[in-house]
Symmetry: C2
Subunit: 270 residues, 2 copies
């Protein structure tokens, strides 16, 4: 069956490298028979801030408004604002979500963080029981595709910005994997604004090549929820022991005070 | 001389734990003779998204709008929008900035990311030459003060969310230290919403106690800019060699494929 792809795209300009990367994804995936939907956040004037206006009608506790709780309730009662519900509908039918953005301050731009904060509602995207490997979106794939301002050498374990695997952990583990998504390796366009036109062109070419087989790619490795106890959510002693003689930690975050597994947030099978 | 403090505060409700933490900071620091200014982002309706409207008058390249470049130019020419200039003025006079927020998705809420994206303008907050230990704000201090939804045990090197030091690296190194700030240890309020009233009260009490000596605290350790070459921004061979026999990496990001230095993003002197 034809796959559905949602591209959540955050760049202000249609002349940008990010626009070209987004257009390449639309083109190659559509040519493969996929249905591709694009949420062009700046063009939509997407609201980034999580406020009581995201809830239709009265909130439960106006005195002590808690977005996490109020938005969960609103989702259950069908009272989320139309823009959120629209994005949730797109997400519900999608098999793959691609986030396309320029990295701002070692993370996503605020408008995209706003999409994450507002659309991935408590109840809709996760619950206490349904998260990580048991997450609600475990049959979907997601990936980050982004440009950097810095060179690749600067984002290494000996580079001034530090290991890119560390910078990616909160995004890929804390957002994507948290909701259950199978996380595909990120597509990183290193400093296209510092590159000559020919190099920019070849970056896009290699993205087009990757897109051909994207839906068949093996995702990044994370740890199964059942490796943790269900009270303090600590690694179970038997898992810990089994891993005791290994050279590297399990993941970037769950590193067991060992060296980080190399490239684990950048490449599948690491 | 009396110190100036800016609190950048991001919670929707004046009845929240975050509001109480912010109020405690205002109270204790004011009682010490500090001048305290608060940017209450939700109350201000702070614009989170980085757009061409942030620049007064014509932009340089409307066809291929690049926020990093256009905002730099606008800053140089005094053409940034009034709300950005106002925040930059507050930052310019401040000796200490406290970011008070609930952690959303392993990071800051979008409205606060918007403050970071828009206020820390290229040229005003950093330049190619002036960053990290040579950063523009190297005579200022900054810190994160935030609430989590998860318990502390979940944010450990053997916990389901992974080591909090990893999650803090992009924020504390990539934003605060990048601009030169001396980064004070974060104030983390672990899951106050799951705590009983008495425990919430004692969390606030220990914050009040810490605030008494906050301005005299030793900051977290980062690596001096002159440890890196100025082309690929790699650690200089002599620094690498000097550290070769050490057990731990230098920092969370610049880990040299060794175990991460424990607590280095949580406590000074680690």
């Amino acid at each position: 069956m034809a796959k559905k792809v949602l591209i959540v795209y955050a760049h202000q300009s249609s002349g940008s490298f990010n626009a070209a990367a987004k257009n390449a994804a639309v083109e190659v995936l559509t040519a493969q028979g996929c249905t591709v939907d694009v949420s062009d956040l700046y063009a939509m004037g997407f609201k980034a801030t999580a406020t009581a206006e995201d809830i239709k009608g009265e909130v439960k506790n106006a005195e002590n408004f808690c977005y996490l709780e109020e938005s969960k309730l609103a989702w259950e009662q069908g009272k989320l604002s139309a823009d959120i519900m629209e994005e949730q509908s797109k997400l519900t039918v999608a098999d793959l979500i691609i986030f396309q953005f320029p990295m701002y301050w070692f993370s996503v731009p605020a408008i995209l963080k706003g999409w994450i904060d507002r659309v991935l509602t408590n109840g809709f995207a996760f619950s206490q029981e349904k998260r990580y490997s048991q997450g609600i979106f475990k049959d979907k794939k997601a990936m980050l595709s982004f440009t950097t301002g810095s060179l690749e050498s600067m984002f290494s374990p000996t580079g001034i910005n530090g290991d890119m695997n560390v910078t990616l952990w909160p995004l890929q583990n804390g957002i994507l994997h948290y909701c259950g998504f199978q996380v595909l390796a990120p597509q990183i366009f290193w400093a296209p604004s510092s590159a000559v036109a020919e190099d920019r062109k070849s970056m896009l070419e290699s993205w087009r090549t990757r897109l051909q087989g994207l839906l068949e790619e093996k995702p990044l490795s994370f740890i199964s929820l059942d490796c943790f106890d269900d009270k303090a959510f600590q690694l179970k002693p038997e898992v810990h022991e089994k891993h005791a003689s290994k050279e590297f930690g399990l993941t970037v975050g769950i590193h067991l005070n060992k060296p980080l597994p190399p490239h684990s947030q950048m490449k599948a099978g690491c």
